[in-house]
Symmetry: C2
Subunit: 414 residues, 2 copies
């Protein structure tokens, strides 16, 4: 039980986790393109056709042979005989021979024999004769087959996140389905005899659960699929059963509560009873987040986060979110950072990596300043709601001075 006493640094905790668990995409699934928004491509996309698939007219007018227009002038027009019409959406039924012109509309395929389209505005039509007043060069007003995308070209790569523009590109190639990475399933539950699920009446001495809700939503925001399991007492047999079920139905488990050093904290013992290697991190020298416990059971990570809602969500952001993103095949997004001034001096907890929740405000000079939001006794929920982000103070640092320029890691995207 030696490991239960030792607090490792934040950096060491990250290294231990990385050594035991290399997060990678869990599988591939084929889904309808219309449902692929925000999913991650699991294949390189190579064009199997030219885009456009044929030479197209970009204007309304007449498809002709360019050489037939040579010598045409404003006062010496050349006459061409209209040999038929090419409609949009149909293969041309006619060929353009010397001295003839085919009526054509925007987007229609260029008929065989023609190599240019005269804009209707630049011609005059009389019965079945069209008058051409200026010479044109080959290919004018023609979008060539493959001009946009060439058959064989790789247009999107594995790992690309799909948004409206990428989905447009896939549609252009005729793909109604697409292969994307599976979404990691993350089981979430809270523990504690005093915790009850929201929705019912609150019995005396109890409080409503926060963490299973905020963490489930944070899983969703990170690209995972939360499996909300609810609230369970700190009872070893019940925890074993719940964890077994969670491990069987999900790719990762997140619990909160039950990991401080009180007599009822059975989580580490329970985790070690379920599989190898069991607990790999048991306590981290951070503030908040000290009781954070991490286990690996039969290849699946289990994060037991502190019961304090702000601490739980902070440690989620720091340690868990990047792993979910990697398992989802996403790029690990660094949090958005802003440079601001401190409103007051801030002290770290001695020997611990300290994260201070801050709210951003404007001072009298209209500068953005960071003001600490207390996490301590009160503020379990208000801290969570009020903080815009957090400031990190290294273990070795004495304090951050007032009016110092510092980096704030934002909780939310702009």
């Amino acid at each position: 039980m030696e490991m239960f006493r030792k607090l490792i640094t934040f950096d060491e905790a990250q290294q231990v986790i990385q050594r035991h668990f290399k997060p990678k995409p869990l599988g591939v699934e084929e889904i309808p393109l219309l449902e692929a928004n925000d999913r991650v491509l699991a294949e390189d996309i190579t064009a199997t056709l030219d885009i456009p698939p044929f030479n197209r007219s970009t204007v309304d007018g007449y498809a002709v042979k360019a050489e037939d227009t040579f010598g045409a002038e404003e006062n010496k027009p050349i006459k061409l005989k209209v040999c038929g019409t090419v409609n949009v959406g149909e293969p041309p039924k006619i060929k353009v021979t010397w001295g003839t012109a085919a009526e054509i509309v925007t987007g229609a395929p260029i008929p065989e024999g023609a190599d240019v389209v005269l804009m209707v505005e630049h011609t005059v039509r009389k019965n079945d004769v069209v008058y051409v007043y200026n010479a044109v060069a080959k290919d004018e007003n023609v979008m060539k087959a493959g001009a946009d995308i060439q058959k064989g070209e790789t247009v999107l790569k594995t790992g690309q996140q799909l948004y409206s523009r990428e989905i447009g590109v896939l549609a252009a190639l005729g793909l109604a389905k697409v292969r994307v990475y599976a979404v990691p399933r993350v089981a979430v539950f809270s523990t504690g005899a005093e915790i009850v699920e929201p929705g019912g009446k609150l019995p005396r001495g109890k409080i409503y659960d926060i963490n299973a809700y905020s963490l489930s939503t944070a899983v969703l925001e990170s690209g995972g699929k939360p499996l909300y399991l609810g609230v369970f007492p700190d009872d070893m047999a019940k925890l074993q059963e719940t964890l077994k079920h969670a491990l069987a139905s999900a790719d990762m488990v997140i619990t909160s509560g039950g990991v401080s050093v009180g007599p009822k904290d059975v989580m580490p013992q329970t985790l070690n009873s379920l599989g190898k290697p069991g607990v790999i991190v048991c306590g981290i020298a951070t503030k908040p987040g000290k009781p954070t416990t991490v286990a690996l059971i039969d290849g699946k990570p289990v994060f037991s986060l502190p019961g304090h809602p702000t601490s739980a969500l902070l440690i989620f952001h720091l340690l868990v979110r990047p792993i979910i993103q990697s398992m989802a095949g996403r790029k690990v997004e660094n949090t958005l950072k802003v440079k601001v001034f401190t409103a007051m001096r801030m002290f770290p907890a001695k020997g611990r990596r300290t994260f201070i929740m801050v709210k951003l405000k404007r001072d009298k000079l209209n500068r953005l300043i960071a003001e600490p939001v207390p996490v301590g006794l009160s503020g379990a929920i208000t801290t969570l709601a009020k903080a815009d982000g957090f400031v990190e103070i290294a273990e070795s640092q004495q304090f951050i001075d007032a009016e110092e320029e510092i980096t704030v890691n934002l909780f939310r995207k702009v």
Copy 2:
């Protein structure tokens, strides 16, 4: 048919739309809190209970009367008799009277009679007697009822978008359901005889649809629910039928194609046949986007966007997205903007508000520069995929010079 000839400016088009249609949330629905991520709150949330609901101990130790510890010193401890235990999650079964102490754990309710908790580390226990070595002030290690949120306090307001932290706050208040604004339903279809849906074999002379896919996804990204209807020919009877169905099943309709000035462009006529006031904008002096048509039919807006995929998505961003956001009860988000240098001189189309698609690159000096991506003949899809954003050139402006500092509107969030 006078209005079919007149091109109005971009600003006028915005004003006409605003005059005819004031976008606002469409309704309210109650949904489970676990499904409320990214939804918009449709009610002010007032706390119906104190958080925490009772005075709680923040440490493991002994609940006592503060006055009982007065005079305690390191070498002159005061003795208190342990009168029982208070468990977490249960109402206390005991009272603390003068000269007694109740064993208590973190999170448990403070029993009647006690007003302070002594940390277990600061005491010594011998059988049923606890030795106290220093005096403590009232309320130490006690989190008071309502310290976090007071009953009656308004904690979240109508219009607030819900993320993990807000959902945590709602859970804390015991709310398992929440009232949010309804998601606007937006019917999307493409028109054109040459367009076929992705997924099947491509007949000769046809191209795959892009717009219904990219626009459906853009609707989703804007907070709407797309209803994908597919592809229809430019046939008035068929368009009437499709538009009627779309208007009956959605709150807004977006079509693309069929709005340029070709002989087959029946969209404006069809729109005017369906209801009043019908077409309110028919062509805008922009490049691209000139054929953009906007109608209002029985109070529902219909946007007929250009067939060119990049133009369609650009006009969607400029005109349609803010309206969907407002109908969803969301804040209208300005596009993210970056200040960069131009890679080359850029010219507007004469007399038209011009939007030039640009790709951001780094130059030799490592400065971010904007390089135009051609939208014209080729590049229907590649432009869409390659552009990071667009530059706006006013109608009156002659050009943007090379090496000039300009603002780029980004298509995507960072």
